[in-house]
Symmetry: C2
Subunit: 198 residues, 2 copies
């Protein structure tokens, strides 16, 4: 069985994004607060993290064979300039194939018939590797559809006071998890992994 | 300097209470899911936790010399039946001394002139021990007043989807913390401690 996981960087008070207070710079500080370089497939984009976080990201990248993302994230990042930083094929869940893009490409596959189909497609693309799901709304849908195996939280020691919660609007709560099955302490971030209980 | 800390049991998606989904039984499961008994000062109230959580609670109880709580928590628990389970004096922040209670007792002291005065009073009562602050609203006020030194989170692997966030309505965000300075893994709970940065 191909494992399906999602992850987010989260403040200690539970927010993965915060428009009003501009807390983003605190959430994502750990991508740049170390001296171990993590190259990406995106030209000019290199992370510099603690050794522990770098090893964590390297292992995650190595395990991941394909991603599933929502259309909003694809648009926001402008299709990551043509190739995702993790250098894996990305399945985009959308109502319509965006103008100027092929339905099936090496870097992006646009799936218009729902989340189950998108996960199925990503599993095929991932081969013997794992599928990662990115974006809070899509992750919530995958969890609600019973298709999510793991939840990864990069917990950052900051209080944002307000923002977008992880798994906002979850309709099948409470969802019990198991773990943490993995704990990695980086600099100003704790990488936690949990298994979804069936 | 007397250390002032607050703590809460929190779901992985950041909620410390959840009225609508009844998630409380999941949040507080760790107080009863082990076989090490933790007696309390409340007759008939004994926790049964994992050995790791029991040691964590024992150490916390030993360190704590006084508590500060809000009037709502005092009323909700009916004054803990006369004595707090931790067996320490409790300073209650309130507008009026509740009927039937002395302003100054062995178990409860009612402070009507604000949060700074309450913390001051608790520090005196704590002697060479620490002060604990209980209740989300009061903890937020103490943090906003610059009087909080540590934040403790008992992180529970459950998603509640909705509820009352930790430090809800915080007006001085973002607040940067340091740590975790302590990580204790119990059964279905991770005890994390952070220091507030000045």
């Amino acid at each position: 069985m191909t494992k399906v996981s999602t992850g987010a960087t989260m403040s200690l008070d539970g927010y993965i994004a915060d428009a009003s207070h501009g807390g983003f710079e605190h959430l994502f500080q750990w991508y740049g607060n170390g001296d171990v370089e993590i190259p990406t497939a995106t030209p000019g984009m290199t992370f510099r993290t603690s050794a522990a976080s770098a090893e964590h990201v390297r292992a995650l990248t190595e395990r991941t064979g394909a991603l599933v993302v929502g259309r909003r994230l694809f648009d926001m990042t402008n299709g990551w300039g043509g190739r995702h930083p993790m250098d894996v094929p990305v399945v985009v869940v959308t109502h319509h194939v965006p103008e100027g893009w092929d339905r099936e490409g090496d870097s992006f596959v646009f799936v218009t018939d729902g989340i189950e189909a998108a996960i199925e497609r990503a599993k095929t693309l991932a081969g013997d590797k794992e599928v990662g799901v990115n974006g809070g709304t899509i992750a919530t849908q995958v969890l609600e559809a019973g298709l999510l195996d793991e939840v990864h939280v990069d917990l950052v020691p900051v209080l944002l006071g307000d923002g977008i919660p992880f798994f906002a609007g979850l309709r099948i709560a409470p969802v019990q998890l198991e773990g943490p099955v993995r704990v990695v302490q980086g600099t100003e971030v704790t990488h936690l992994a949990y298994r979804v209980r069936r």
